[in-house]
């Protein structure tokens, strides 16, 4: 089976710091995919092109709520609906590693692929007027000039909590595959059959059942005395009967 590179994002670990967003923007605005232009970045109504965004959701109703930080980027679907609709062939899925890419020199900016993506993963560059999306840092991960440990997407390297795992999900021995298999990795909007390559690891509560008898040690030395019958006040104390 061919390779399918992907990200596995652990929602249990993500703290919503946006480091992946800024490092993605930094790398990709100056790399071969760049620039990712911004419009009015310091004004009242800033806008810009990003490959990766961190969103925040509140689950439940106050006071029983939970905050979920949710990094969102192209999922590099195994059956990408954005690719067949492209009229020019600018959008394509690489056979060798499953990365979905856009050829910016062929894109006519018709936006049809963005309509065909249920996840809203594609953004039209406001200045270049071509469609942009996550490349899985294709210009980093094969770069022989980088030390092997750095041949990973910029977002993965930036994550301070290691919430992002990068790997080949078709290789059952990869760290990404193992995380999906052993930690309940799931795909977004499975109802559309797009088979996203990127997976998410769910929030996991660490719960421990404590039984009432576990609240007190029966051999607690501090409480042994208290449980014995108390000596009367006139009785000799321990000091009175020993010679030490």
């Amino acid at each position: 089976m061919s390779k399918q590179l992907a990200l596995v994002i652990d929602l249990n670990v993500c703290v919503g710091c946006h480091a992946c967003v800024t490092s993605c923007k930094e790398w990709n605005t100056q790399g071969s995919a760049g620039p990712l232009t911004d419009q009015n970045p310091y004004g009242a109504d800033p806008s810009g092109t990003f490959f990766n965004r961190v969103q925040t959701f509140e689950v439940g109703e106050f006071p029983r709520t939970e905050t979920v930080h949710f990094p969102k980027s192209c999922l590099h679907c195994e059956d990408p609906p954005c690719v067949p609709v492209c009229p020019t062939g600018a959008s394509y899925k690489r056979a060798e590693d499953g990365i979905v890419l856009v050829d910016y020199d062929k894109c006519i900016g018709c936006k049809y692929c963005s309509w065909a993506c249920p996840y809203g993963a594609r953004e039209l560059d406001g200045e270049q007027k071509v469609m942009k999306k996550c490349t899985l840092c294709v210009d980093r991960i094969y770069d022989q000039a980088l030390p092997p440990a750095e041949r990973k997407p910029a977002c993965v390297l930036a994550c301070p909590t290691s919430a992002r795992i990068f790997g080949d999900i078709h290789d059952p021995a990869s760290e990404a595959s193992r995380a999906i298999r052993e930690q309940g990795g799931y795909a977004l909007m499975p109802e559309w059959g797009t088979q996203p390559a990127n997976h998410y690891l769910p929030r996991r509560k660490t719960a421990k059942q404590i039984h009432p008898d576990e609240l007190e040690r029966h051999d607690n030395p501090l409480k042994v005395d208290g449980k014995l019958p108390r000596p009367a006040t006139g009785e000799p104390a321990l000091d009175d009967v020993t010679s030490w």
């Binding site: 965004r53 959701f57 689950v59 609906p81 009229p87 900016g109 249920p118 809203g120 998410y200």
Partner: protein, 277 residues
Amino acid sequence: MKPAWSVILLTTLIGAAQGLFLAGFLSGGPRLFALIALALAAAGLAASFFHLGRPERAWRSAAMWRTSWLSREVIVLPAFMAAVAAWAVFPEPWIGWIGVALAIALFVCTGMIYACLKFLQEWHTPLTVVNYTALGIASGTTLAAVLMPSFIPAALAAGALAWALRLASLARNARLRPKSTLATAIGVKHPRIRQIAQGAMGGSFNTREFFHGRPREVVLAARWALVALVFPAPALLLLLGQPAAAFLAQYAGLIAERWYFFADARHPQNLYYQAIA
């Protein structure tokens, strides 16, 4: 979805062009019909360029006809225009029949661009293709009635059929239940999920392209406009012997219809863009 004026004009203008050519050729009408159809199709083609971010690269869009309905439309539209022009110059029946086949193919391509997107549930129905075809034929036949009053009965019949089919799709879409929810969008199984931040302080392409941003009243007004102007108003004007006014009313109705077609479609990506913060 945000209605794009370029696409609204493209689809309504070429629809009228196809309908006018079909009405003209199939009834043995004069070549003037073909010339007007050609002008309408050219205007629609010109409007389509305004939809592109890089119109100078538009020629590339014919490449992926094997998979993309948009690419097929890009090929069939100029082919239809060429056939219509050829028939206007050499009114041979076989050229006309090629034009008929291309007109029908173009209706299918235009409709399938929208109908093939399965998660846009409002569009993913055979009614989308049927409506594009029926509404195009209706407006073209009404235009034919402007040129030749003998087309008034045909225009009434085509309008009634298109209207009934569009009402059927309105009824279908009113009963739709979205398959995607916030729970499937982020994969958290909970009935109460609220977005707090969408990852951008201002808007983004995702908030501009997929939300029409108009109050509900405007959307409802567009729906009433399409219901009233696609058939009842033009029918009345046709019966009063005012085909030109009838065509203008129906064309305005088609603009409302197309605007509503886009505004009514709820894209699942909107689940990720519920709150700006």
